[in-house]
Symmetry: C2
Subunit: 344 residues, 2 copies
């Protein structure tokens, strides 16, 4: 079924408020989930909401806290997340650090023990919106096997980077796994096999059986290089945030454990070289205009597809699983209409 | 033929001194080239030395300068490289910034217009040796085509990351191209075809002909994700250093143009969480000990192979092309023996 952006935001915000979130916390967490849906990434969208609600009910998540911030050094803001909403803890710290970047030039936020951030693009887009280069890293449960290995030892360890230009920023947001675990789950749910090379089962053997892969490990993207990048991100986050390493991480995929992963955000003021933002934009446009491998399939720059999808979803609404919509409505004390607030 | 570390350093240092480099500049540039050989990366080794000499002779490189440093903000050291040796300009700035990191927590060096750095691992290893997390980025001439594209629009845009632990640091050093352009040149020199997917010719068509690929473009590693990472690094370096973008970069592969690429180094003090360095080491050891995909082929952590090769080369010497050794000796006023200084 199709719902509007407004309806999605209204239901998610209401549900979170009904379960103890202050209004501004509920609005921000809802925004992050709905934006992921609009960009075409439902694995980071509203399907995460029932688990967040369950986590609040079980007391492993605190909907009211923004975490505790402490300057570990002049340019590092250290944050104990105290089981707060990932987006709430992160954005509070990013905003505080951002006000110092014009003096510092560069600064870092290191967060421990906050909940799932959702798509990292949200944070680097916000940072780029302030005129700064943004880098975001986050760790997760062990889901990815090393290159040349067979056991899940690494998180999916996403990295996002945004660089402002004279036009739209470049926005990169990728997991260092070959595919998201959500994709494996989708194949398992529909009984489809997975392609060779995607995953191994719990015994470490290559498998085409998505159900067996769910209990196993996903391959890293890009062979040895992608693995290298993934394990470097694993160590970076733990070294900078003091957070758990993948085999010990809990709480982004379950409803029972406090979340002990780490998040890192770096904000940097760009060079003030004259004409630089226009030069960056002209370069990206030259890449977009360069001859494609397939006629009619123009070269894309990271962020282009998500931006286009989001604009379309803002205009036309977006599809969500009807069972999920019913489930969310059942969790709320009152019903939201899918097309409530739709523009005529 | 095989030469010793000592012989390689002696000849490279002498050659650079004979062509106007102060002793300490010559020693550092020689160290970077010889270490690349010892780690098994001759494309970043002594074969670059004749070009450096030629660049000095032609006046597009200044062997004496350390560049001009200026604090752009409290935590950003901006460097005009003034055509100096890449390693000399970079290490001078890194050392200056490093002395401030205990107060700042994080800081950045942005360099324009210095010469080729060689392997980035050198710099992040040095930073990790001081106890800090190190990140290094550098840009280059356009050699890589976009994912879904056909023309060389991106540099090989290497990234290096080092994270200190209670034992050896993790040291990642990778180019965002699928293979180094040096590998294409090796195939061309020996008349061997290149595998499907490595490169396109100057007209943008896929090619197995290494000679045609030399004039064309290499594929990015890891498909869309590797391309995304490569173009993000391209924009990051230009945005932070104010340096040229790949299509306008000159001077790392030729002997005639001043070098106008950019380099970025980020230094970060790790979290002081108790036991963290030991925890990072234990994790890396657990990854190394995890079951391999092929019996007898243990899982590696980035930096392991290079460290092992370097130790072996330090003990046993390393192989270099005899013609290169003769060429280097011919450039010098006096001859260095390949085994001069060899341990008995």
């Amino acid at each position: 079924m199709r719902i509007t952006e407004t309806a999605g935001l209204a239901l998610a915000t209401r549900l979170l408020e009904e379960h103890g979130a202050p209004r501004d916390h509920a609005v921000l967490q809802a925004r992050v989930l709905v934006t992921a849906e609009m960009k075409g990434h439902p694995s980071h969208g509203l399907q995460r909401l029932p688990r967040l609600i369950e986590r609040i009910k079980r007391g492993v998540m605190d909907p009211e806290t923004k975490g505790t911030q402490r300057w570990r050094a002049d340019a590092i803001l250290d944050v104990e997340g105290s089981s707060g909403f990932g987006p709430v803890v992160a954005m509070a710290a990013i905003e505080r650090l951002a006000s110092h970047i014009p003096d510092l030039g560069i600064g870092l936020v290191a967060v421990r023990n906050a909940n799932h951030l959702g798509m990292l693009a949200h944070y680097v887009e916000a940072i780029a919106g302030l005129g700064f280069v943004g880098i975001a890293l986050s760790s997760s449960e062990a889901l990815v096997h090393p290159y040349g290995g067979t056991r899940a030892m690494l998180g999916t360890n996403p990295v996002a980077i945004a660089v402002p230009t004279a036009g739209e920023p470049l926005v990169l947001d990728l997991a260092t796994s070959l595919v998201p675990m959500g994709r494996i789950h989708q194949h398992a749910a529909s009984g489809r096999p997975i392609p060779e090379g995607w995953a191994r089962d719990a015994d470490g053997h290559p498998t085409a059986d998505a159900a067996r892969a769910k209990a196993g490990a996903i391959a890293p993207f890009g062979d040895a290089k992608g693995y290298g990048l993934g394990i470097a991100m694993e160590l970076l986050v733990a070294a900078l945030a003091g957070s758990a390493l993948a085999p010990d991480v809990r709480g982004t995929l379950d409803s029972r454990s406090p979340c002990n992963k780490g998040d890192v955000f770096i904000l940097i003021e760009p060079s003030l070289a004259p004409g630089l933002p226009a030069r960056l934009l002209a370069y990206l446009d030259a890449v977009r205009a360069s001859p494609p491998a397939e006629a009619g399939e123009p070269v894309l720059v990271p962020g282009d597809r998500a931006r286009k999808r989001k604009a379309a979803a803002s205009r036309d609404g977006f599809d969500i699983d009807q069972r999920l919509w019913e489930e969310l409505n059942a969790l709320s004390r009152s019903r939201v209409l899918a097309f409530e607030g739709q523009r005529s």
